[in-house]
């Protein structure tokens, strides 16, 4: 145990639940983290343009499979990473939240593109201004749509996050509090 590893990224101004005991990894944690980060099964929540760019990312030129992530799991139970790609309208928001709630822990969320992250050019009555209003987001990828390179950058960031996460984090009160701020029930 003992050995405490500081995450190698900037965790300034993180919301509650992103820090605390959750971010210190033991060597067991590291081994599991290593496994987890190399086997991210994404759930592509593709609503619009970014979904097409995601296809490009699955394509031969970028080959998402290199990260062990080509096995898309459309069932939220089996997915590790919720990739939200494209505009989330207010009509869609409850669905997205439900999908997130159905996912098994540990789960991560990547918000791809301007629309998902902030609403983008669609500052309109019908569009949710960023999915972080309803679910916690781990990594944002800017761009409209982002190039596959950017998405891969985002995935690498997610991998960093996963690799450094403690196994206890998901049970910690901080994490539960964080979910509670989004109104998500944890049992």
């Amino acid at each position: 145990m003992s050995e405490i590893i500081k995450p190698n990224f900037n965790i300034a101004e993180v919301p509650a639940g992103h820090d605390g005991p959750g971010f210190f990894a033991t060597s067991m944690d590291k081994a599991v983290g290593l496994a987890r980060k190399n086997s991210i099964w994404p759930l592509p929540f593709a609503t619009s343009c970014c979904g097409i760019e995601f296809m490009a990312m699955m394509g031969s030129h970028y080959d998402f499979a290199r990260f062990g992530s080509e096995r898309l799991s459309f069932s939220p139970r089996q997915a590790d990473l919720l990739m939200v790609m494209g505009t989330i309208a207010k009509k869609m928001a409850p669905v997205l939240k439900q999908v997130y709630e159905q996912m098994a822990e540990p789960r991560w969320v990547l918000s791809m593109g301007a629309c998902a992250s902030s609403g983008g050019i669609f500052d309109t009555y019908s569009v949710l201004q960023g999915i972080d209003r309803i679910i916690p987001v781990d990594v944002y990828v800017p761009g409209c749509p982002p190039r596959p390179e950017q998405v891969i950058d985002g995935i690498l960031k997610i991998q960093d996050l996963i690799g450094n996460e403690s196994l206890r984090r998901r049970n910690s009160p901080e994490y539960k509090d964080m979910l509670a701020t989004y109104g998500i029930q944890v049992d």
Binding site: L34, N38, E70, S75, P106
Partner: protein
Amino acid sequence: MFTPDLIFKVVLILSIFVITLVIAMYSTYGERKIAAFMQDRLGPNRAGIFGILQPLADGVKMFMKEELIPDISNKVLFILGPCLAMTTALMTSAIIPWGSNINIAGTDFSLQVTDLNIGVLYVFAVTSIGVYGIMIGGWASNNKYSLLGALRASSQMISYEIAMGLAIIALIMSTGTLSLKEISAAQAGFHWNIFVQPLGFLIFIICSFAETNRAPFDLPECETELVGGYHTEYSSMKLGFYLFAEYINMFIASAVISTLYFGGYNFPFMNSIGLSSNAVAILGVIFLFAKIFFFIFFFMWVRWTIPRFRYDQLMRLGWTVLIPLAIFNILLTGAIIFATNN
């Protein structure tokens, strides 16, 4: 009590078990790599060198994932489903002759866990109950997609079992035995059954695709229609069991195909190159595994090439094409046996 025979059997069972699991594990890796290569991609290459640790990563991840059992589902059956799938997948390996006898310190040991005099039927029985894992799991999930997957699985398996059985009957007619050991031994050298039963082989391999739920017969779990099919609601290692069972099934099906039609552990000129019997046995094992790997590759190759059937087309293919063909094959075999015996 601990006779050498018993010790050998235990060692054999354990090693078969381990080998089966390892092969199933690396089949997942192989599948992803082969798919990648067929699609001009690289495939997993980040976990370990060339991504060789990918299955381990997947396994550890799945073990550590949260178990979700839907509230309304039947818990016992929900857990029983994947267990059954896994058990039935592993059961067949008991009667496959992995090699000819091996001689250790003057005693002959058979590289087969048990030689049933009705081995072929045993294979058949195990496959026929293999569907319960899927059905129970799909039903217990209490999810409509799962249920549809389960229903598709059951009707598909039953339909194709008939054609498969009829194909085997023709094979049995020409070999004259139900024991896998004897069938293997009869194919010594290059007298493989494929040359005797080409049509039967074709039917059998098509049916094995259906029985293992592999493309183009992967209807019970086809992603674009049923999300995840029967395992939609499963997470964690229970899902792992299902996925694993599929690969074990594929491995066993390849082993059975190799044994029944491709000479099993026999290889050409095995008796004329003048090696010791132990060397031949070991070479035989290697050849058997080479054949098995080829068929696993073949399964994957087909999967990544052709589209899948529709439910009714699949049934139609089974009932109106394969079954009549299989019956015709029986008649043909019978006629040939009749003609050659006279």
